[in-house]
């Protein structure tokens, strides 16, 4: 029997945990079917990629990179950059909406007018 590397076990536990979070959110109706399908595909394909040797090497060759591991790191960094960018855009958008709400309430209910006309 081939021994399983501890890193593979740790990663699998983490991926299963992350996937379970997506399923819980879907059940609580905090995530739609498309989103849960995306996260399920992502985490399950990462588990498969870890347990089937040679698959990442094929991907690496396609990208013009020597080793499969390097290709995974490369794709991971790009993915993280994109995720940070999306979060930045979303947080800016949320801030903008929050300001608009505060502004509307202030202009409707939060004005105390000066008494005298100067």
């Amino acid at each position: 029997m081939i021994p399983i590397a501890p890193i593979k076990i740790i990663f699998t536990i983490f991926a299963l945990f992350a996937w379970s979070r997506a399923v819980i959110k879907f059940r609580a109706k905090l995530m739609n079917a498309k989103e849960v399908a995306f996260w399920s595909f992502l985490w399950l394909s990462l588990i498969i990629a870890i347990f089937i040797p040679g698959k990442t090497t094929l991907l690496a060759r396609l990208l013009g990179i020597e080793r499969g591991f390097d290709a995974m790191i490369f794709i991971g960094i790009i993915g993280l950059f994109y995720a940070v960018y999306r979060l930045y855009v979303k947080s800016n958008e949320a801030e903008r909406v929050m300001t608009e709400i505060v502004r509307k309430i202030a202009l409707k209910h939060g004005i105390k007018k000066a008494k005298k006309k100067r």
Binding site: R96, L107, I111, K112
Partner: protein, 228 residues
Amino acid sequence: MKLGILIPAYNEEKMLGKVLKTLPKKLPGIKRKEIIVIDDGSSDNTNKIACALDVTVICHYLNRGLGGALGTGFEYAKENDFDVLLTFDADGQHNPADIASVIRPIVLKKADVVVGSRLKNKRGMPWYRRIGIFGLNLITLALFWVWTTDSQSGLRAFSKKAIKEIEIKSNRMEVSSEFFNEIQSHNLKFFEVPITSIYTRYSLSKGQKNVNVFRILSKLIYRRFFAK
């Protein structure tokens, strides 16, 4: 002409009362004047102090930052048909005697936006602050193609056309540079006049910090290239 003096204030109980009392009663070319304090979710007595005086107070229930407060002031000015809108800091760093010279080019219809520049008269400004402002001036030039000697000045005046055209999207300190994006994109006539600043330990503690440059830069890049 109808002038609005817009004072964004966040936890300014120490200086706000004094600032409001020292504002000039009469200004050349101005028939009516309204002082508008935007209380930006202060947790101290700022709101009480402003409400006790004969000024208009607009209350933000949550702190939204300088840009958020100025944006609310602009909305109010649009709804209330002001001919001139002046922004004035609540920390006591501006000299009320400069107001007349800042609004003059607007009253004479020579400009749409006037910025009171503290760097045309550098006396009293700490060197590290000059460096920070110069850096932000360069960033403003690179992103919005407008050169100014003081992109971070809080003493500015806007014409009726500028009030109508300018749309503030920033929430925090980056709004000072955002005004130059609006000047450039709406082709507004821009003018600078020298002003003197009053530097106290308090006003320096309240002003723009050099460490904020990178945060402002990232926000301005977002504003320039990604914001809707």
